[in-house]
């Protein structure tokens, strides 16, 4: 690993930018993700910033099961993200489809559409759990040889 790569990995771990995508969720996980940005939880102290565009993001935070209508859009958003990219499935539905498993318009968990690096269960996942998920993801990134 070159010094430059080390520097990039170090920088990336200090400021992971996230983009949030709702693929068919009930809103509960979404407001908990937003909650994590607000004063009580304040993820910005870890350098995490929520970005509007997937092109600026390192981590895609997905909530909800994948609905047939959103599937294509989820894949597009994932493809627009620059490498290396990580996906976090937040909430039981995003992990496995949860209570919506078997509904005709639901494909299942997020991993049915795109590769997932971190699963955060809970209905909804608590903000602490979401922050813990991102921190664990970062240690994974830090430990990796080439940053992926």
């Amino acid at each position: 690993m070159k010094v430059v790569d080390k520097l990039i990995t170090w920088a990336r771990c200090k400021s992971p930018w996230i983009v949030h995508f709702n693929s068919g969720a009930c809103n509960a996980c979404d407001i908990e993700v937003l909650c994590a940005l607000t004063p009580r939880y304040d993820v910005e102290r870890f350098g995490m910033v929520q970005k509007g565009s997937p092109r600026h993001a390192d981590v895609l935070v997905c909530s909800g099961p994948v609905s047939l209508q959103q599937r294509e859009r989820l894949v597009t958003v994932y493809e627009q993200m620059p490498e290396p990219k990580f996906v976090m499935a937040v909430g039981t539905c995003a992990c496995s489809g949860g209570v919506f498993d078997g509904c005709y318009c639901i494909e299942g968990g997020v991993d049915q559409a795109i590769p997932v690096d971190m699963y955060v269960p809970g209905c909804p996942a608590r903000p602490e759990a979401i922050i813990d998920g991102v921190v664990k993801l970062l240690s994974k990134l830090e430990a990796s040889e080439d940053g992926k």
């Binding site: 709702n22 969720a25 009930c26 809103n27 509960a28 909650c35 004063p39 639901i106």
Partner: protein, 401 residues
């Protein structure tokens, strides 16, 4: 002037859900708009037909995470009516208590989002910080911050102890103080008034014509509230006002929501004072006699309607849900037309949309050349905040404590 078509959504970072709008622009103004929803359609009504009545309580609670208690209450009311059981008074009081706490959490959340959409970030952070007070109370009562799982067929699953009641009283006192402060900032501050008044106009006649509901309707001067007009549970025993406002715009919707918060505190105090003793649940049979029932509930966003038809088995024949946002969706296009592009985020946010209930994104196309340019919510929101700052509306100048 050339017309530009702007597609907005469905990936949508500032708010929570997917939806999409097609806006036809003439310069800065919206000439025509089209609402596309359905991104969150999961097929729950069909799924409800293959699950038992009790399983459906937990499925339908997850129609929407913000008004989850509204949906489950509305649904259990239909089933209890069909089964012909009388729910214990204490359970009804606890249901109403959770319902009002949910309204507080939802209106606080909205207040924050509204602040975010107009570029008043301090309000966003303040409102969400204070919202944690009510989230703690809900967690204490139900064990979960959202999707409480408090309702069951025939009653509620957890009790409220006197110690909990004291904590709720204390929290309500704190919240009241904070809300009164917001009410001074929002209702007394000229910048907020200038930014919001006249935006997203919806006249009384139009609000009725489009069958809108909830705070959107009440901000257009129509005092319609299911809690008073067609009360269920214990609402007839409570003394509260139905808040209306005659501004007919986003400012009016803000006033209504802030004042409704104060009403909710009043209701909660009454509930705690009146809370009767007694059992929490009554037995409801697994098989529900054949029949049909429609139930209404005033959710934070408006009137929620559930229709259940039973056929004598342990599974419903049909469950129909009409979420409040669907009723308000038809009016969005009308409210956007003729307004500025910079007002689009706040107008949409002002109906407090919940498309997971109903089932959201913005794209921009040049009607002459047919060129489409995508605009995400965040960039539109930033554009909006900058556009108004140029007009002299800067929220950073508002003195806050």
């Amino acid at each position: 002037m050339s017309k530009i078509m702007v597609p907005l959504g469905p990936q949508h970072p500032a708010l929570e859900e997917p939806e999409s709008f097609n806006l036809l622009l003439e310069g800065e103004r919206v000439a025509a708009s089209q609402v596309c929803i359905g991104y969150n359609h999961r097929g729950m009504e069909k799924a409800a037909e293959s699950r038992t009545y009790l399983q459906n309580v937990y499925l339908l609670e997850r129609i929407c995470g913000i008004c989850s208690h509204s949906h489950s209450t509305c649904y259990v009311q239909t089933v209890e009516d069909l089964a012909g059981v009388e729910v214990p008074q204490r359970a009804l009081y606890i249901r109403a208590l959770i319902g009002e706490l949910e309204r507080i959490h939802s209106h606080m959340l909205w207040l924050g989002i509204a602040g975010h959409e107009i570029g008043f970030m301090t309000l966003f952070m303040y409102a969400w910080k204070d919202r944690e007070i009510v989230m703690d109370i809900l967690e204490m009562l139900t064990g979960n911050r959202i999707n409480y799982g408090m309702n069951t067929l025939g009653g509620v699953r957890r009790d409220v102890t006197p110690e909990m009641a004291d904590k709720i009283r204390e929290a309500v006192g704190q919240l009241q103080e904070r809300t009164e402060y917001y009410s001074r900032v929002i209702l007394g501050e000229e910048t907020v008034y200038l930014r919001l008044s006249g935006v997203g106009k919806l006249s009384k006649a139009d609000a009725l014509r489009f069958d809108t509901t909830g705070p959107v309707l009440r901000a257009s001067g129509v005092g319609r509230d299911v809690r008073r007009d067609d009360p269920n549970g214990i609402y007839p025993n409570l003394d509260f006002q139905v808040i209306t406002d005659d501004h007919e715009d986003v400012y009016g919707r803000t006033v209504v929501r802030v004042k409704e918060l104060l009403e909710s505190y009043k209701i909660i105090r009454q509930i705690l004072d009146q809370l009767p003793d007694g059992p929490l649940t009554v037995k409801v049979p697994n098989r529900i006699p054949a029949g049909e029932c429609i139930s209404r509930y005033e959710a934070p966003r408006g009137e929620d309607i559930h229709y259940t038809r039973s056929n004598g088995t342990d599974k419903p024949d049909r469950v129909k849900v009409r979420a409040p946002t669907l009723a308000n969706s038809a009016a969005i296009a009308h409210m956007l037309d003729g307004g500025y592009l910079a007002d689009v985020p706040i107008v949409i946010a002002a109906i407090d949309p919940c498309f997971s209930c109903t089932d959201r994104m913005v794209r921009v196309t040049d009607a002459n050349s047919g060129q489409a340019q995508s605009m995400d919510w965040e960039s539109l929101r930033r554009y909006s905040a900058q556009w108004y700052r140029k007009q002299g509306m800067d929220f950073s100048r508002i003195p806050l404590r």
